[in-house]
Assembly symmetry: none
Homo-oligomer: 211 residues x 4
DNA sequence: AATGAATGAGCTTTCATTCAT
DNA sequence: GATGAATGAAAGCTCATTCAT
């Protein structure tokens, strides 16, 4: 059955992680999967199809990362919840980052990856939506300022989560190192408080009614 | 002389932009540069050295992007200044993104790129520092809240700027499309205002004296 | 039983017709025959044996093409009979031409095909013989000139019939196009009349006593 | 210069002669030409281009085979001239037969070969024309019967010449064996005399005014 | 008898690199 | 400095064939 397929796909993905798309040869895949090169072509039309499948599997997995988050609206502190959101985003994107980066090496592959994300009810858009809804809910409870654009805030968090993952991959840092939590907390605090002075100092700053 | 070197390097970088590291062959480089393949090896020890040089040049260029920004502390609105900062970060990273992404394909190349950034007085760290200093200055003028961690805020902006660039590359979107400005404005506004409710509602929110 | 054998052989021959020996793979044969590749090896030792069998079958079929012709000695016109002979030769050779041509691609296959033709009481030799006998019979009736070498005439017709078939295959022309009949008629007429002038003009031509 | 090209082309053609298109691998070509496989691709875009070139060269060579024949109209015996024509056709076609046969293995190759023959002022059509003109000239001298269709006679000879070459290739017979001359003489004699009875016997045969 | 996963040799092709000129 | 023919290793892929089920 498709145990062999799975072995090949896993081996490929693993190589994608460690070598980068350019260096992944069918020979290496075969060796890593413990099969012959010919067998790869028995299960996949060509190398492209295999890579596509790897990308598809991983990309589809991004689906609704935040769906599993028990975001208790109105419960715990907002900061705690946002930190949890960011951490989840960060961790999941750390996982798919090699596959995601691989799609940069190939035009067609990238287009395909985009399609996959578009088709699925899931993917980044869905995560952003989930966050925006959460923020709006907190807004109704008065835990988030009324003038906040929940959608914009969600996109902000999304960008930050991905970027942290990408940088840690680039720096080849462990995703579980202690500093990450601290970094996320600092980030959340900044977003929570905002840059604008509060209270009396408000008069000082330049008006930005329409900004 | 090094006119030829330059031609070869430019051609290589251009191919990196359009094809990705995997697809860049010496033959294509030679053709694009209008020289023979053999000549490449008169100017560079091997292909790796050439690629390294391309990466080195572009990476070194990341240096002090914000140095060119006339960030007038205390002048114009803070929002306007932040928007300008973000836009500059976004644009410059959009330019180097292909080279940056290329470094993911090769372990050694990536390590080298990191070294380059570390060595130079310039690079991301410097931009972050510049932003942090700017924010701190505004803070002293009372245009930024006193409790803001200027360093954390700078890192936040940095992440957002890079991530916007990466996503637009991935989506193959034009970096000058009108929507970008709007996106940046929304983002700045959110960061400025923060998520926390202001005024009386402040009592409602959880204390975060030490958070 | 040998229903499967037959399916495989038919499929192979069909592919030989349309692709040429070089392009006929076991995979394609299996697909065309609606069986699995493995099954082919239950019925034939190897691919060579299968091809051999196809060639054998078709070659054996060449047998006695003219035997089916109701060549009525002394009846109808001689030209009509010759045209019919040529047409039959042409048509039958058009059918086997792909298999025949295939034998050029493989030394051993060709040798085998020759053996087959030799073994059978049938094959080209038999057709030539049949024609020679027919011509000799007409000769006795005075419908063919007494000085004609019936064997040589038969070989002549044989060559022409095959060559027409080969050329039409090479030109990828339909064997039933109207022009064929006209071509055959012209050919027969030339053979019938001969090139030598007749009657008084005979004196003019150079003597060919020994030619 | 193109000495290498020539070596490769020659080697390829030689292999085409001995193995058939199907069995000609780039590896063997390289070995036979005394070069590396890679070099083949330095001189030819791909294997197809190489084969095309071989076919083109040989096919173009068919050009005007009879042009070199000093066919002395009115001189020597007609039979001698026709025998010489047939022998020349036979010999030249014996040479190109392997390449010609190769074109059967590949649809595109065959189409290309046809184009080559069409384009050139030369090729079979030209030979046929030359023969037809020769026959017509003899006709005017009264050495060929007035009612002979010179074009049809030329086509007849053409077919016979090619077919003899093909059969000898198929039988793997030497093109210079003594029997060939005898075969050609018999053939010419038959064509010269025609099958129809001459003189008084002419009344016996069926009328063929319109045949 | 039939399947189809699995094999391994060999094919065409690419590509970084060298070297005589 | 510059050329481009030449190399050789390795890439992606095909295909006849085997074998456990």
């Amino acid at each position: 059955m498709n145990e062999t397929r799975q072995k090949i796909i896993s081996a490929t993905e693993h190589l994608l992680f460690s070598h980068g798309l350019a260096r992944v040869t069918t020979r290496e895949i075969a060796r890593a999967a413990g099969v012959t090169e010919g067998l790869i072509y028995h299960h996949f039309r060509d190398k492209a199809e295999l890579i596509h499948e790897v990308v598809e599997l991983r990309m589809a997995e991004v689906k609704n990362v935040l769906g599993s988050l028990p975001l208790q609206v109105g419960l715990r502190t907002l900061s705690e919840n946002l930190a949890q959101i960011l951490y989840t985003l960060y961790h999941s994107h750390y996982q798919i980052m090699p596959v995601f980066i691989s799609t940069f090496a190939d035009h067609e592959l990238r287009a395909r990856a985009r399609e996959i994300l578009d088709e699925r009810k899931g993917g980044p858009e869905w995560d952003i939506q989930a966050m925006a809804l959460y923020i709006a809910a907190e807004q109704r409870l008065g835990r988030v300022a009324a003038n906040v654009n929940s959608r914009a805030a969600a996109e902000l968090l999304h960008k930050i989560g991905i970027q942290m993952a990408m940088m840690d991959r680039w720096m080849e840092l462990d995703p579980d190192r202690a500093v990450v939590k601290k970094e996320i907390r600092d980030c959340v605090q900044t977003i929570m408080a905002g840059l604008e002075p509060r209270g009396e100092s408000r008069r000082v700053k330049t008006a930005r009614k329409q900004a």
